[in-house]
């Protein structure tokens, strides 16, 4: 694989002599072929799910497997809606993911602003404590959290998902790194000379500058919440009032062995809102993810 890389790399860097253009072209073709195979492997399961969602279970159980669309999609949608409260659980997922996203954006950026741009007693200690918290595995918290939530009467409601997720160490760390370089000290000094108080500085100086960072954190948080599964599975004890992921899992558990067409239809429909969000933010996410890792 390495040979493919260096062959074409030199071809694209513009510093190339005329030697071996044919070899470069051949390597370029091989490169794109390998990438296309990878692309097909990445995308094929989605295609297969869409195809299965258009077939009845008898068709799905027959050999050879169906690779082209069938005609049972609407039928599958109908039995999906009969079996789970699809739109109700989608509403729950939207409610949780949207509330958490806005809370996280506000609380995390506010705390990050403080850590990035201010000096105060205990600053380093508090920051170190936050990073240590980052490392505590979720299972250690699961049982007591469940007990606390039960005592607060939150078990079974979306509150049990929203409140504990409203601020997180990752977001604060990420926004702090971003703000350190993006908000110039001169800007802070200038606004202070203008008499701007803390909240004004946050709102009028910090936030406008860090919008791209907020966009990444927002999309990342929304997708994470939308896909969250383990904690909702435990906390949402009323099977009629759950998030989409839990509803899907119920569908698979109860009906999975009999009506695969319907289960697939649910899986496919549940992906749509997420794919829309990802399509909007893909460029930002992909670029920032790389930056974050090599920082």
């Amino acid at each position: 694989m390495a040979s493919i890389k260096f062959g074409t790399r030199s071809g694209t860097s513009g510093t190339r002599s005329g030697r071996g253009i044919k070899g470069d072209q051949r390597r370029g073709v091989a490169l794109h072929l390998s990438l296309i195979i990878g692309l097909l492997l990445s995308v094929f399961p989605f295609y297969w799910a869409v195809i299965m969602s258009t077939h009845s279970s008898t068709e799905i159980f027959s050999y050879p497997p169906k690779l082209l669309p069938g005609s049972h999609f609407l039928e599958n949608v109908r039995s999906l809606l009969d079996n789970i409260d699809f739109f109700g659980s989608m509403f729950n997922s939207l409610l949780v993911a949207t509330s958490v996203t806005f809370l996280v954006l506000f609380f995390d950026s506010l705390a990050a602003f403080v850590f990035a741009k201010f000096q105060f007693p205990g600053r380093r200690g508090l920051f170190a404590l936050m990073m240590a918290i980052f490392m505590v595995p979720a299972q250690l918290q699961a049982i007591p959290q469940f007990v606390i939530m039960a005592n607060l009467g939150w078990i079974g409601s979306m509150t049990s998902l929203i409140v504990p997720a409203a601020a997180n160490a990752f977001g604060i760390f990420w926004m702090r790194q971003y703000m350190k370089s993006a908000i110039h000290d001169e800007l802070m000094d200038a606004s202070r000379l203008d008499g701007a108080g803390f909240m004004r500085q946050y709102w009028h100086v910090a936030l406008p500058v860090v919008r791209p960072g907020l966009a990444f954190l927002g999309i990342f948080t929304f997708m994470g919440q939308w896909n969250d599964y383990a904690w909702p599975l435990i906390a949402l004890t009323n099977p009629d009032n759950v998030t989409l992921q839990v509803a899907l899992s119920q569908l698979n558990g109860v009906h999975g062995t009999t009506d695969y067409g319907m289960v697939m239809t649910g899986a496919v429909l549940a992906l749509i809102p997420l794919l829309i969000v990802f399509a909007i933010g893909a460029k930002q996410i992909i670029a920032d993810l790389g930056k974050g890792a090599i920082r």
Binding site: A2, K5, F6, G7, T8, S10, L31, H32, S34, L35, L41, S42, P45, F61, Y63, P64, F107, D108, A111, V114, F118, P137, Q139, L140, A142, I143, P144, V147, V163, A167, H184, E186, A190, R192, L193, G197, F198, M199, P208, V209, M223, N227, Y229, A230, L233, L248, S249, N252, G253, Y260, M264, A267, V268, A270, F278, A282, K283, L289, G290, I294
Partner: protein
């Protein structure tokens, strides 16, 4: 940042130090403390207190409803001899290895290819990243059908080339391979994007110089690319270890119907039961909150041990 708001007074640094807030007592910083307080309050309520409580709980017997009964170290003693717990550790490690080794290799190959492809780079990156943003539940449902014994794609392929069918989700190795395949599929693109970002920081002149010196592509990869990529490689390894050791959703969704008593059983003979699945089974299906807490601390210990191993690897390699 192009969109920085322009304040009229953005004067050049003045000689006289800016009139920063004079050093007063802690109280004068109350706004700052208030601004960072939400995270710490949430952490106190849903982080610190729970962790302390789970330590306390691990020394008690409790079904979540009745009264607690002090049990001393007996639950930990039982944990050490609990064959099902050891089995779940083994499963977790095997699945982790089956998923992570091919994943890191494929991600590196993909990143190297993406780094040289000029056209359609964004299309490739979008497609490769897609598996990672989709929910594990949907993905596990889809892969459940790919590995289904009766109508799955894998068995159709095997049949097409004249091989025997495999009861993927019914045999110990079949289960592990299916889970690992799912994880590899979901994470290869994600890690390739991270590797790609690392590759892009390597200056092109290094490659030019290596070629001038007559180094072949393979030699260049092992002498230049790989050493310079070590930090990124280790970052990926550490993240995949910590997340891989806590694998839960993939086997849970894939195997939840295989046992009538528990949706956390992890398939026939518990051969797909990871550590976290075992934790959920003990706690929420058996209502054994005290023992569940002990299991959680056991998992924490395993994660720490492997983190230390990772860290030692980093240290030793760094000294070379």
């Amino acid at each position: 940042m192009a969109t920085a708001p322009v304040l009229e007074t953005s004067s050049p640094p003045v000689a006289e130090p800016p009139a920063g807030p004079p050093k007063k007592g802690i109280l004068s910083h109350w706004r700052l403390y208030a601004a960072i307080s939400p995270f710490y309050l949430l952490f106190l309520a849903f982080g610190l207190i729970p962790v302390g409580f789970s330590l306390y709980l691990s020394f008690h017997r409790w079904d979540g409803l009745g009264s607690m009964e002090f049990a001393g170290l007996s639950q930990y003693r039982y944990l050490i001899s609990d064959t099902q717990f050891w089995n779940s550790i083994g499963n977790t490690l095997v699945i982790w290895a089956l998923a992570t080794i091919p994943m890191i290799f494929l991600a590196m190959v993909t990143a190297v290819m993406l780094n040289s492809a000029v056209r359609f780079k964004n299309v490739y990156r979008f497609a490769f990243f897609l598996p990672n943003v989709t929910s594990i539940v949907a993905v596990a449902i889809i892969f459940g059908s790919v590995f289904s014994t009766n109508f799955g794609l894998m068995n159709a392929l095997l049949q097409a080339v004249g091989l025997d069918q495999v009861a993927w989700l019914n045999t110990p190795w079949g289960i592990k391979v299916a889970i690992a395949t799912l994880m590899t599929w979901q994470w290869t693109g994600y890690n390739a994007i991270i590797f790609l970002a690392g590759l892009q920081t390597i200056p092109g002149e290094l490659y030019e110089a290596a070629r001038m010196d007559g180094a072949g592509p393979v030699q260049t990869f092992f002498r230049i690319t790989l050493p310079l990529m070590r930090p990124v490689l280790l970052f990926v390894l550490v993240i995949s270890t910590v997340t891989g050791l806590q694998t839960f959703s993939e086997p849970q969704v894939l195997l939840q119907t295989t046992d009538n008593n528990s949706s956390f059983a992890g398939g026939p003979g518990h051969s797909g039961q990871t550590m976290v699945l075992y934790f959920f089974q003990q706690t929420f299906d058996n209502n054994d909150f005290g023992y569940g807490a002990a299991v959680a601390w056991g998992i924490f210990l395993v994660v720490i041990i492997f983190s230390i191993i990772n860290w030692r690897l980093v240290q030793r390699r760094g000294e070379d």
